[in-house]
């Protein structure tokens, strides 16, 4: 099995360019400070914060369900909005990303190369911009909260995620 392209891609080297004709075409959850991948990457690097990268799709059913039933949770909102840098990629967008190797591709091509099959897919990064884990599909409030704690309390430095989750 080939390793996901995304997991071989140093996040620090991903820069997003948006043409004047382009816009953020999809819809991350309201009230959260989701940024373009460019802005988020730069911010995470400068502030030494962990990052959540959300691959979504315009009109995606499970994304909409999570927005309404999970991301509306006040404690989750506080945890992620304050402690994480948030990035959003529209898996069907024609906006372009510039990769570390100098290549420019659309967000959609980036998602397919990253083997993002479904949405939502969440990639969690440590403050030093290493990929920690990926979660695809519907996640509950409790799960999202535990993922956040796992990173913010730095359990990832000593404990596998599965073991941490089992102990909660």
């Amino acid at each position: 099995m080939l390793q996901s392209y995304f997991f071989r891609l140093p996040l620090a080297c991903v820069v997003l360019f948006t043409l004047s004709v382009g816009t953020l075409l999809a819809a991350p959850p309201e009230g959260y400070r989701f940024l373009s991948l460019t802005e988020a990457t730069q911010l995470a690097s400068s502030q030494n914060k962990p990052m959540l990268l959300y691959f979504g799709r315009y009109g995606c059913t499970t994304c909409r369900k999570m927005h309404a039933e999970v991301f509306n949770d006040a404690s989750l909102h506080a945890k992620y909005n304050d402690a994480f840098v948030l990035a959003y990629v529209d898996t069907e967008s024609g906006d372009r990303i510039s990769l570390a190797n100098g290549e420019r591709i659309t967000e959609m091509q980036f998602a397919s190369r990253s083997r993002i099959i479904g949405t939502p897919t969440f990639i969690f990064f440590s403050p030093d911009q290493k990929v920690l884990f990926k979660k695809a599909g519907f996640q509950t409030i409790a799960q999202m909260s535990q993922y956040g704690d796992y990173i913010l309390e730095k359990h990832y430095q000593s404990t596998p995620l599965q073991e941490f989750m089992a102990g909660q």
């Binding site: 369900k65 069907e92 290549e103």
Partner: protein, 405 residues
């Protein structure tokens, strides 16, 4: 003994595979030189039209960053030659993307491309490039070009005063190999607040058809519109994809994206796109056939075979000819790395088993196919090859000759 039986099965498998091949590919030709460090070729854009064929030659158009910035390049190969010409730089701005090509008479080709948030059209001949013509007035992108009997049409999206428009232009060819914009109309006079994406265009004797990704419903749907005469307005947009919803209160329907159109026969249109109706397995390749230049489309049809039911497929491209042949190509990861796959109707008028041309499969990444059919039914295939997914790339071409039944 086991070894002998294994050998026999291998022979049978190979024989069956070859027997099922509707096209036989004799080899491949380099469209660009050997892969160079940090140079990346892209075949991407509305309708995935990057290769076209005249009676005398085949031409390809693409984007790459050999000059440090993304620019458009084109090349052609006479059928009497084994080699493509040196690449001609088509664009000359800060950055350019997503070219499109179609064939004209007298061994000429029509090109369209995006450059610095405008869209342009330009003629390519064996002697070189004509002067570019700007098609758009406001910020524009996602251009595609199509021709029929030297009537040339281009479609693109344009944003004016915060609203999105789908524009279609009629282009006239001047003697000096320059396009003149004769007229431009919006498919819908009222612009949209929501974006429309990647309009594809096809034309034949019965008229003109455009299909695009539309987000006005709070969800992406493929819409199609038709006119029998560019002097008249386009008809009201109709849905192209059948969509499925009501899983729960949040469900507005399955995802669809990147439609490609091709004219075939006298007046028919083939549409193919990526469609998430299968749920968790990602995009499938689905298609529909439209009569009367896309005025009336038939039901949606799943293109890929059962083997491909459990994985995602990408980058569908279509081709057709006036003899009535039509075909779809795409790429997927069913063999771990990406290969090119094709499917066409079999004798039962059903989509054939998926076939991976040996020239465009195997080790390394072969992806982003673009295809053309000539009037003899030969299949012209263009694709990107990389030794690894994030490595440098090159472009290949292969000619598939139809097998005698």
């Amino acid at each position: 003994m086991k070894l002998r039986f294994a050998g026999l099965w291998l022979v049978l498998i190979i024989f069956q595979s070859q027997a099922s091949d509707r096209w036989v590919f004799a080899g491949r030709s380099a469209v660009t030189g050997a892969a160079q460090d940090r140079v990346y070729h892209h075949l991407d854009g509305s309708g995935r039209k990057h290769i076209a064929v005249t009676k005398q030659s085949v031409a390809a158009v693409w984007e790459d960053n050999r000059s440090q910035t993304p620019q458009i390049y084109a090349t052609l190969k006479s059928f009497s030659s084994d080699r493509f010409t040196a690449a001609l730089q088509v664009s000359d701005g800060g950055e350019a993307y997503e070219p499109s090509i179609d064939a004209l008479s007298n061994n000429r080709f029509a090109l369209a491309f995006e450059q610095d948030a405008s869209v342009f059209a330009r003629i390519l001949t064996a002697e070189g490039l004509g002067v570019p013509t700007r098609l758009s007035h406001q910020a524009a992108s996602h251009v595609s070009i199509a021709s029929f009997n030297d009537q040339v049409f281009a479609s693109w999206r344009e944003r004016d005063s915060g609203r999105w428009f789908l524009k279609v232009a009629v282009l006239r060819i001047e003697d000096t190999n320059r396009f003149i914009v004769e007229s431009v109309q919006s498919v819908e006079a009222e612009g949209l607040e929501t974006p429309l994406l990647f309009p594809a265009i096809a034309v034949n004797a019965a008229g003109l058809c455009v299909a695009w990704e539309d987000r006005r419903a709070g969800h992406t749907r493929l819409l199609v519109s038709h006119t029998a005469d560019m002097g008249k307005p386009f008809n009201a947009p109709q849905p192209l994809n059948e969509f499925f919803s009501n899983r729960n209160e949040y469900d507005k329907g399955n995802g669809v994206t990147r439609v490609s159109l091709a004219s075939f026969g006298e007046d028919e249109i083939l549409a193919a796109w990526m469609d998430k109706r299968r749920g968790s397995t990602g995009y499938g390749i689905f298609a529909a056939l439209g009569a009367d230049a896309g005025e009336n489309f038939g039901p949606n049809e799943k293109v890929h075979g059962e083997e491909g039911d459990r994985l995602a497929h990408y980058n569908p491209a279509t081709a057709g000819n006036q003899a009535g042949d039509f075909i779809i190509a795409w790429d997927d990861f069913r063999r771990a790395d990406s290969d090119i796959w094709i499917s066409a109707y079999n004798s039962d008028l059903e989509w054939s088993q998926d076939h991976a041309p040996s020239v465009a499969s195997g080790s390394g990444e072969q992806s982003h196919p673009s295809i053309a059919l000539d009037e003899q039914g030969n299949l012209h295939l263009l694709w990107i090859e990389r030794s690894q997914q994030d490595g440098p790339s090159r472009l290949w071409y292969s000619l598939g000759r139809p097998q005698k039944p």
